[in-house]
């Protein structure tokens, strides 16, 4: 297995880093994988409007782990993934999120990894959304729901834009311009649909802005520390200044899961990230996450991810 661990928010740096780890020589705009690692390559594009892009298109020869540690700098990235395993089953989605939290991705051996990553600084995002009618709502929503990712399935329209972006018959004289226009279409479409979703949610929830802020406090209290027992529902209900039953209903609508399932999901994600970093023993992870014994952790881990911590 190849491990690529970093805390970079510059794709140019990241590409150099990947090349170093894989012991490859990068050319000006990308790397070509060597046979033992896989077939295909990674390409870097800098668009005229200031965005950076990495285009991954390869079949992995062995497992490759990408692990990004927490970063202080806040940037945002789009990932459009189209992953096909050896049986031809495809998994495709589009993600948008803050790059600050840790994040990992395993490219399993023999899967075809096609992924387009777009990096934008916080400034860039604010400039773009700042001049839009729906911009404030989106910016609020993005900072509110951070660090969670927002995602959508790739539908036909996204696929069409994508295939135009990676069309090998593209006139190379115009590559930067053509790709930039498609990237902007993806961003536009994603945010337009996100806006629609948010307004739908707000209408359904009939939640005031004040209530949303207080629910956010509840969520923070819930996932900030896993080493001790989570706050009880009564305690949370005091933070939220609403009755326990109202809290439960609103929480689930906003975060999609019941209060303690949300807690558990975040706890397991943290466990997985810690294990993948290879810096902690299983015992340490269990202590950090408030498990009295390693077996309980292993059992819950298996239930969530369908694999034992030892298999990582």
């Amino acid at each position: 297995m190849i491990r690529i661990e970093h805390n970079l928010t510059s794709y140019e740096e990241l590409l150099k880093h990947i090349a170093r780890v894989m012991q490859l020589r990068p050319s000006a705009d990308g790397i070509v994988l060597s046979e033992d690692i896989g077939t295909g390559g990674i390409k870097l594009l800098k668009l005229p409007n200031g965005l950076e892009m990495l285009i991954y298109d390869y079949t992995a020869g062995q497992d490759i782990l990408f692990y990004k540690r927490k970063t202080a700098a806040e940037s945002f990235s789009f990932r459009i993934d189209d992953i096909t395993d050896a049986n031809g089953t495809a998994k495709s989605s589009i993600f948008f999120g803050n790059t600050a939290p840790e994040w990992y991705h395993i490219a399993n051996a023999h899967t075809h990894q096609k992924s387009i990553n777009i990096m934008m600084s916080k400034d860039w995002l604010q400039r773009m959304l700042g001049r839009e009618e729906g911009g404030d709502m989106l910016l609020n929503f993005i900072s509110l729901k951070s660090p969670a990712y927002h995602y959508e399935q790739l539908d036909v329209e996204y696929r069409r834009i994508l295939s135009e972006m990676t069309d090998p018959a593209m006139n190379k004289d115009f590559e930067g311009f053509i790709v930039q226009n498609r990237v902007m279409l993806v961003i536009e479409r994603f945010f337009t649909r996100l806006c629609k979703k948010i307004s739908d949610v707000n209408v359904n929830l009939k939640m005031s802005a004040e209530e949303i802020v207080r629910l956010k406090l509840v969520e923070q209290a819930l996932v900030s520390d896993f080493s001790s027992l989570p706050p009880g529902i009564n305690q949370l209900s005091r933070i939220a200044a609403m009755s326990p039953s109202k809290l439960k209903i609103l929480f689930k609508r906003m975060y999609g899961l019941p209060v303690y399932q949300h807690f558990q999901k975040n706890r397991m994600n943290k466990a997985k990230a810690m294990l993948l970093s290879k810096k902690y023993t299983l015992q340490q992870v269990a202590n950090e996450l408030g498990y009295n014994n390693v077996n309980d952790l292993s059992k819950t881990f298996k239930k969530t991810f369908d694999q034992l911590p030892a298999d990582i």
């Binding site: 400039r127 036909v156 004289d173 115009f174 053509i178």
Partner: protein
Amino acid sequence: MRYSDSVYTDFIQTCARLFNTKAEKNYLTIPANYGSGYMASFMLPEGISVMLGDTVFKEDLYLQRSPSPNHQFFILQFNEAFVEREKPVTGLLDKDVQKVQQNMVLLTNSLIQSKFLLPAYTRVKTVKLIFEKQHLLNILRQEVADKFMSVYFSQMVKKASTEAIDAGYRVLLNDILKVTDDHPLRFTFTQNRVLLLLERFLTHFLERLQDNERSFKMKDEEVSRLVKVESLLVKDFAVPPPTITELSKISAMSPTKLKKDFKTIYGLPLYEYFQKNRMMRAKDLLMEEKYAIKEVGMMVGYANLGHFAASFKKEFGVLPSELFSGEAK
């Protein structure tokens, strides 16, 4: 009306003065005594000035832009005109006046004087851009930009128009003019489509230059007749399209010549072009997420939903019902 503005926000103010009205937030509603419709302008972050318009005037409007010898910039315009009432143009016109009913894409240079006629009772949809050479250099390599400029302007001098508004342009133009205030990302939406217009114009011109030079050899007058044929072909999809015989009469060309020249300009045989446009229109309607698939089928002239679905799949590779379904195989 004479003007020499180099930014469309100024141009809108000039127009407002002409119509004795005020333009707020660079948006001008045409007063009822002059006509109807609106003009609007804004600036893209790259510094490209954009003007949109969807207007009908009650009198012929004659525009003359004086050359600006000290400030070189380029003007790219996309015009589409729909004659609502035929009326002979009053007064005498210079020979070099551009008529907007040509449905053409036109690139001009600030060093040249340009004259335009917007005839009365003609609905004109327009998107215009003002940009400088630097803008092209931001998106193109120097030698590509230079080649484009030199070839384009040498063609331009020989013939007034070089590129017809086809289905691809029309979709973008309509999107730009149709977008309303309640679009949450209106600015980005408009900007993206304006840049796609520019992209399409640049790539088309250079590709055609490589592929064949035939379309440049066609007579201007023939081109304008073909433009008319095209507009009739895509006017209304709810009714069957005109036949070749009808079209050949309208264009005063033999069916063979009509078919050949149409393909040269629009890139596809007549009825394939019709069908493609019909399907693009259907997709547009579906993407609005306002109509049922069946309704859309009817709107583009299919009585049978199965036929519609099959044609749609032939064009886009997916059934109308799969358009939003995520995993398409």
